[in-house]
Symmetry: C2
Subunit: 306 residues, 2 copies
């Protein structure tokens, strides 16, 4: 009797079998193929999960990770990586497929926070905040040793911090500092000026290309990344003044920009935090866990729910 963890994502679906000591024993991964009919997608998730369960065994409890705020409902809401999946009773379908075992479903960023707290960059830190910077910006918090979810399970949505931009419009943090945001602001910079930039030669822009050119000294790319870093810094100032965290762990593909992004973040924190006591040298850390972070988090989350 052990724990089955499932990470249902917009692109990949992963499953792993954990023993009660939370060691990962078996693991499988399949493409989600989200545009196929939902029944087929769900069946693929279940098959992937079954493939990691040892012969003759049955999970005691199942932890499921899925995107979007979920409000303790067992279904997905507003997940921009899984459009059309609102209110599909995913947790129930998976529970039934495994003979009705208890299921604990949670948001991906919340579970990543839990994993980094137990096994990653936030070990021994409380409060611990986690932000994932990729297609969007999600977050999770460990407060008093527990995953903090708020009244209806909707807490810690740092991507939806709102900022007035000098252009006069109000933007969410994730429209200012996510991967797609970098592309948007780079395209805007190219359209509104005629500064020479190798960005103009690229067939397709993405965060990785922009970061690469910024690292090579391309001025426009550098400004776009620095600007994203300053906005992210402004978001982290808000989080720090509110939570006084011991650590903020940054994960997700955008963190591959490294120092180009983190330097303006750190400068903004140093400039705007009201007291250095908020700004411990160890405050900002990069995520330590890799692709399986959500499986690990789902296993921890499920452990107490069986």
């Amino acid at each position: 009797m052990s724990i089955l963890a499932i990470d249902f994502g917009g692109t990949r679906t992963r499953a792993a079998w954990f023993n009660e000591a939370l060691q990962q024993m078996h693991r499988a991964e399949v493409p989600t193929l989200r545009h196929e009919p939902q029944e087929q997608v769900i069946q693929r998730v279940i098959d992937c999960a079954r493939s990691v369960v040892p012969d003759g065994e049955q999970p005691r409890v199942i932890g499921i990770c899925a995107p979007g705020p979920q409000a303790f409902t067992g279904y997905i809401l507003h997940a921009n990586t899984l459009p059309g999946w609102d209110r599909v009773p995913l947790a129930e379908r998976i529970s039934v497929a495994f003979g009705g075992v208890p299921v604990a479903m949670e948001n991906d960023a919340n579970l990543a926070a839990l994993a980094e707290y137990h096994q990653g960059a936030a070990q021994g830190c409380d409060p611990a905040l986690y932000l994932t910077l990729s297609t969007g910006i999600g977050g999770g918090a460990i407060l008093g040793g527990q995953l903090f979810t708020g009244w209806r399970g909707l807490a810690i949505e740092p991507g939806h911090l709102k900022f007035l931009h000098p252009d006069g419009r109000t933007y969410s943090l994730e429209a200012l500092a996510s991967g797609p945001a970098l592309v948007y602001w780079a395209e805007r910079a190219l359209a509104s000026g005629d500064a020479p930039s190798r960005l103009r030669e690229m067939a397709r822009l993405d965060g990785r290309v922009i970061g690469m050119l910024a690292a090579e000294g391309d001025a426009v790319a550098g400004q776009v990344v620095a600007e994203a870093g300053r906005w992210l810094g402004l978001g982290l100032v808000a989080l720090t003044h509110l939570f006084n965290p011991q650590v903020i762990v940054l994960g997700g593909s955008v963190t591959q920009l490294g120092a180009l992004l983190l330097e303006p973040v750190r400068r903004t924190l140093a400039q705007l935090l009201i007291d250095p006591a908020f700004n411990d040298p160890g405050l900002l850390r990069l995520a330590a866990l890799g692709d399986d972070v959500c499986l690990i988090g789902a296993a921890y989350h499920a452990r107490g729910r069986g």
Copy 2:
């Protein structure tokens, strides 16, 4: 044997004697006279506190409320209402004066949050946030039934949320929506335009006067209050997306502006929260406790520390 509570404020100092059921038995109040020598001020605080202790009794524990972030140190830091009081060992002085009884000192907004949670507008609500809008903007949070203070006791400083203003500068929320902020923006509006306004006739502007004229239909005063409401709304959007609170209690003198302030706050919340599930009809409430809110909070905070 009971609980002595002391509220040491920039203007008034209050003390009360509570029985173990947290009923307030005796109460006293004196002016703080903060510009007098610190020894005299401290002695006046101690005398005021002594005056509420019944003959022959001794407090089991003392709860002290004081302004500014305190970081579990027992002294005040950065309290704009008590300049020059940084690092004065207030908690220790009071403990010694009462024979060395244990003392629990906390920030005023944190203790107000605790009081509203136990006896006021936030009863039965978790997470519960509290904001005080007066000379500055302070805050407190009850999460999981406990006062949330963060790593070093610095958490919940909503007055220091930073916003970029259309004028190109970055302002703290308390520079946009506190009492002095109303005066600042009113003066700026008068200086930069020539719109007729009865504000020009006033010998001295304060939040009360601006609110009164706004209520009477003065356009400039109305715009100033509405603008403060929109900024406050933006701050509450951040708090709501992060904490998913069941209630946000608003206290402090600025809330006397009533609907003039709260309507733009509510409109901003309705407009910018990503899902109506964040925005329960009961989300925003006015504080229920009066001048003694911090004494009540100090008593609750001290109760478990004896």
